[in-house]
Assembly symmetry: C2
Homo-oligomer: 709 residues x 2
């Protein structure tokens, strides 16, 4: 970056978006930490914009107000504190199975006469209601409309930070981070918390309510957060608490050995269980609203129950047991596969691994275990089918994990608005048309396992919610690429309301981030950002690995193309391109049998070459270069065409941005401009390498005679 760093960018909460509230007479009533937060926000807005704010026990006894935030249960202060004051025993209710947590945060908003009213059962509802009113802007104060109830689809909307406390020699301060250093840690120690507070506020404003602050790969230093460095964690938790965000910790399955000095971490060993119980009790003494543990076990070198001949259910349950009566949960990651595979062995299929490991365990997990499943069967590629694990475990709480940080989607040097990808995943129906969506499974709704139909509302167990790997760091723009803020915002919003369209979420984000009083965002800027961002994921897909085959990235850092980079490695990510064709045969008939992990209709759709969607063709089938796609093109010509087109789209994107220089703050404009330059370069590199690779292999010339190297 050659432009001078700006002050910390306000992201989607620039001061002016509070002017609609801050110019009114505002009443806040109720008690509890989050009600205090709502009042502070409202009072600060009024101080900035000329309005007035006051507290009151009951709306009836107050002077006339334009905007009222009221806790229905304010007369019962014990209840108002339910989730937000140190009252561990009560917390367990909110964390049990079912939809309880969702109701906790719900609110109604209405406008009657000249008064806009936000009502909630619990303080968290008021907090989310506040930011709802911020999003409504001036329209919150126009006309009259009936009460609408807002409630989050998923009770848990968690951001995972893959942040290291001590800088890792290979992965740095933030593993897969592309936005500077960690917001929480620097060079082995906790950072000043001022910025954490601003971060928590941004997250609350888009709907996030849970967070891990350390990497799922738990290294030596980070392990101690659980025990002797708990005070540092508690200080962060105190800041998050004021914005309704509960803190979770990533822990090592080997902690009883590495921290506890025991000879084993065998989950069946009573001493091990006692250690987890005692350690967890100490955590709750220090952090009464602690959320729970996140565990990456038996995965990419992390220790796990396999080391003791135990199943992952036994492993997860041992930790869950320790958390249960404190109201905590275990997020247990399903990302378990053999990363020492032999590339010569075509019968082993990494895509099968999570299902093979976990589906047989369905029903064996305790209620406070959440199985955290990556959205696709491989690893956050730009295009994957939805993981079959999501449909395979009706007796298990399932959380769906998305990657907000752009490890495989341009590393925040490329503009790639990910909400369309996530929306496709969340709206996917694993049991076919009419049945539940992935979002509904994550919220706890799924088909009756007996009847194969949808049971609306609570299923046999609750939902696990949505988890995103954060893209934020100490970069002045939070996310490196300023426009990547939209991904962080969209994650929170889709977790709360997955039915929102990606375009409408983007529109919200533009409206807040680029707000310019008095009229809001200039139409030309709004249109330009939509034109750049709405289709940017598809554009990224066009110029990178084709037709769902994935993983043609440089090994290690995963930036830029290397078609064969993982082809002869132990990582299980292959494309099998030869002079005749390309793709992975995952059919049941002739391939690895992965398709059989899906329920109908998808097992049949993916199995059949003529029914498999084009964009997933090479994920499921090995085909000749001359194979004709559903879109009428051959595979090889499709590769050429999409790669030329993708780069042209990026060039167009850069031109569009140049055209709004007059409407955007100069430093932000320059930062985005630099990234677009790199994206043009990088996309050209992808185009040329992919096209050259397949041209050299296939020998088929481009039908349009364009230059291939």
């Amino acid at each position: 970056v050659t432009t001078p760093p700006p002050e910390i960018h306000p992201a989607w909460l620039p001061p002016q978006v509070f002017r609609h509230i801050g110019s009114r007479r505002c009443l806040v009533h109720g008690a509890g930490t989050l009600v205090e937060t709502v009042f502070e926000e409202v009072a600060a807005a009024c101080a900035d914009h000329g309005g007035s704010a006051w507290r009151g026990r009951s709306p009836a006894r107050q002077p006339p107000a334009d905007l009222v935030f009221a806790l229905r249960e304010a007369d019962r202060p014990g209840c108002a504190r339910l989730r937000h004051e140190p009252a561990p025993a009560a917390l367990s209710t909110a964390d049990g199975a079912g939809a309880g947590a969702v109701e906790d945060e719900s609110f109604t908003v209405s406008r009657d006469g000249a008064v806009t009213t936000v009502l909630a059962e619990h303080p968290a509802g008021l907090l989310h209601g506040l930011f709802h009113v911020v999003r409504l802007g001036e329209s919150a104060f126009a006309g009259a409309w009936p009460a609408t109830r807002q409630r989050p689809a998923a009770g848990r909307r968690m951001l995972d930070h893959w942040d290291n406390v001590a800088v890792d020699p290979v992965m740095g301060q933030v593993e897969r981070g592309y936005a500077g250093g960690s917001l929480f840690w620097r060079d082995g120690a906790a950072r000043d918390l001022g910025r954490v507070r601003a971060y928590a506020r941004l997250l609350a404003a888009c709907g996030v309510n849970a967070m891990t602050v350390n990497n799922v790969n738990v290294h030596r230093t980070e392990a101690h957060l659980l025990t002797d460095r708990l005070d540092e964690v508690a200080a962060i938790a105190a800041v998050l608490r004021r914005y309704g965000i509960r803190l979770h910790l990533s822990v090592s399955f080997a902690a009883p050995v590495t921290l506890g000095g025991l000879a084993t971490a065998d989950p069946a060993d009573p001493r091990v269980r006692a250690w987890w119980a005692a350690t967890t009790a100490r955590v709750y003494q220090t952090i009464p609203d602690f959320g729970g543990y996140v565990v990456k076990a038996d995965s990419e070198g992390q220790p796990g129950p396999f080391g003791y001949g135990r199943s992952h259910a036994e492993g997860a349950n041992a930790l869950a047991e320790a958390l249960e009566h404190h109201g905590g949960v275990v997020h247990w990651r399903a990302f378990v596969y053999n990363h020492r595979q032999d590339w010569r062995d075509r019968s082993t299929d990494r895509a099968r691994a999570a299902f093979d490991h976990f589906a047989p365990l369905d029903g064996e997990f305790r209620e406070n275990v959440i199985l955290q499943v990556k959205y696709g069967p491989i690893d956050f590629q730009v295009r994957e089918p939805v993981s079959p694990v999501i449909a395979a475990m009706p007796g298990t709480r399932v959380a769906v994990e998305l990657q907000v940080t752009q490890e495989y989607t341009g590393q925040q040097r490329h503009l790639c608005y990910l909400a369309p990808l996530w929306s496709e995943v969340l709206q996917f129906r694993p049991w076919g048309p009419g049945a539940s969506t992935v979002a509904e499974v994550a919220a706890g709704r799924r088909p009756d396992p007996g009847a194969g139909e949808v049971a609306a509302g609570a299923g046999p167990v609750g939902g696990g919610g949505l988890v995103g790997v954060s893209n934020a760091g100490d970069d002045p723009y939070w996310t490196g690429h300023p426009l990547a803020q939209a991904n962080l915002y969209a994650f929170g919003r889709l977790a709360w309301a997955p039915e929102l369209t990606p375009g409408s979420v983007l529109d919200e984000w533009i409206g807040l981030t680029f707000d310019r009083p008095p009229g809001g965002v200039p139409a030309r800027l709004r249109d330009t950002l939509h034109a750049m961002m709405d289709g940017s994921w598809r554009t990224y897909e066009r110029y990178t690995a084709p037709l769902g085959v994935g993983f043609m990235v440089r090994p290690g850092h995963h930036y830029g193309p290397d078609v064969d980079g993982y082809e002869y490695t132990p990582w299980g990510t292959y494309h099998f391109a030869d002079r005749d064709g390309v793709g992975v045969d995952r059919t049941s008939a002739t391939g690895t049998g992965f398709t059989a992990q899906y329920p109908p209709p998808w097992c049949e759709v993916y199995e059949a070459l003529d029914r498999c969607p084009d964009e997933l063709l090479l994920f499921f089938h090995h085909v000749g270069y001359g194979h004709t796609l559903g879109n009428g093109s051959t595979v090889i010509q499709h590769i050429y065409d999409t790669h030329f087109a993708g780069v042209e789209e990026v060039v167009r994107m850069r031109g569009l941005w140049a055209g709004v220089a007059d409407l955007v703050e100069p430093r932000l404009h320059a930062r985005v401009g630099e990234r677009l330059d790199e994206q043009v370069r990088g996309a050209g590199e992808w185009r040329d390498q992919i096209n050259a690779y397949f041209h050299r292999k296939s020998g088929v010339p481009d039908a349009r005679g364009r230059r291939i190297f």
Copy 2:
């Protein structure tokens, strides 16, 4: 390594090899540091083995001796000190052009009656004579034989250490080091020097007489060795001096800016020259026998004269001027190429770069500039043609650089005895049959540039000698793989006597290293080591990149195969394999024109497809997979056959080693055994990846029906 570390291994100087000397009556006479060293060595041997050692001014006045080391010029002490005492003014003579330095170290050895006598003009000759007698063993004391004169072919026989003082975050303590940490530096500071002394002794025993102690990539910490950390360097120099080894420093061309605080490092700027003069003078005040500078300029990101619009002659001469009257030299590396090349551009050829940069500058370098040229035009590959630069610069002192550390030849996990490769290079005749060899050019002999014939003896300028990049570190076996010690030994021996055959050098090394009194090395062990090592370079070639095409290694660390790893990168190292064929067209007729950089006959031999040696075919030509080689096989079948054969040879090697477990110290045997296991695994990986890659591309089945994945 799973076996416990042994004590420091004595390498080729185990105590017992001194028993032949140590059991005799030995007279040492003469004065000077190195005569003291000879006497210490002889006295220690006699203390161990029951002989006696004494000093004397003249042999005539002494009691009868079995072994005499005598300085002919001992009566002229001033002369005896010429190169070995702090006498800066005198040093310049030895460092000037011509063969002076060679004579300095020569000696005669003879046996008359019952007395073996080593005579030398200068103390260094006695030191080398001592180790000559050690090598002779008991035969030094049998029969009678006339005086033979031994003199080194090249005056300068230098080892370069790519050691960092501060651990580099990417390259570690030793760049391209595979033998533990640095012998000189640890975590930013100089180490205890006890081991440096042992190292210097080993090097003197094989003929090395010059050394750099820091990486040619001069990072920030290392730059200060030249100025404020000179005391640490001087302490090392004092240890090396006692074994006849002069210390050189790698320096940064930008030092006048980074260390001197000047605004420029422009070699034409008088202030820059003054800075170099003053800095160099301070170095000589501290280290009177300092050897000089080694410079990697305008190469892979290092600063250089191009940054100031100056030629490399101007750059080198500025430093040479500062060194000249102190008797120092500049080793200026010819490894200059564009490492930001566009892989799409097939007209740019990295192989051409050194010639294109330096040949036009011939005659412009000062006499104390030595152009240090890698043996091949690319970068230490297992097979390259000899660099055309070596024949292109009759008016320049040329040193040939070899890589003892096995960056591209198995990283001391694979057994690869490199002397056969070096011997081929050194015996190569750039001007064809009858003309000088590369070894002769390095020694200062080359054809009369006018007549195109060989001018024996001193040419228009002196020779630059031989330089090796060391493979030694603080590993207990010095070199990681215990048998890689043979490479270090062979480097020194071939630098002294390039006419030695690789087999005879290996035999010497075996005889010393595995000596077992009283009878020496058991014949079965000697035969086994020859069977394992004589052909190990060819074996390594067989299972790695085929037919001279090179560089199919994993990017970055360069270990193991990745056929396309560098294919689409800016590094200029390509193979251009497609479905029809493979190889780089470097002909003048249709390719990059690299062949024209060679004098006849090689320009014609390499240009002609039917004359080009098989083993370099793909370095010079792009051919179809069906092309028939000189050996009668097709290219594709040759690839399959050699890769299967190479692995079989490694398996055989491992079996041979298992068969001598009874004859080798157990820990050493285990260490070598572990490395052979890894070599078997690694060779299999090479075989399978290379064969799979070319099978997928070519579609040609193996004629012998073996399994290709």
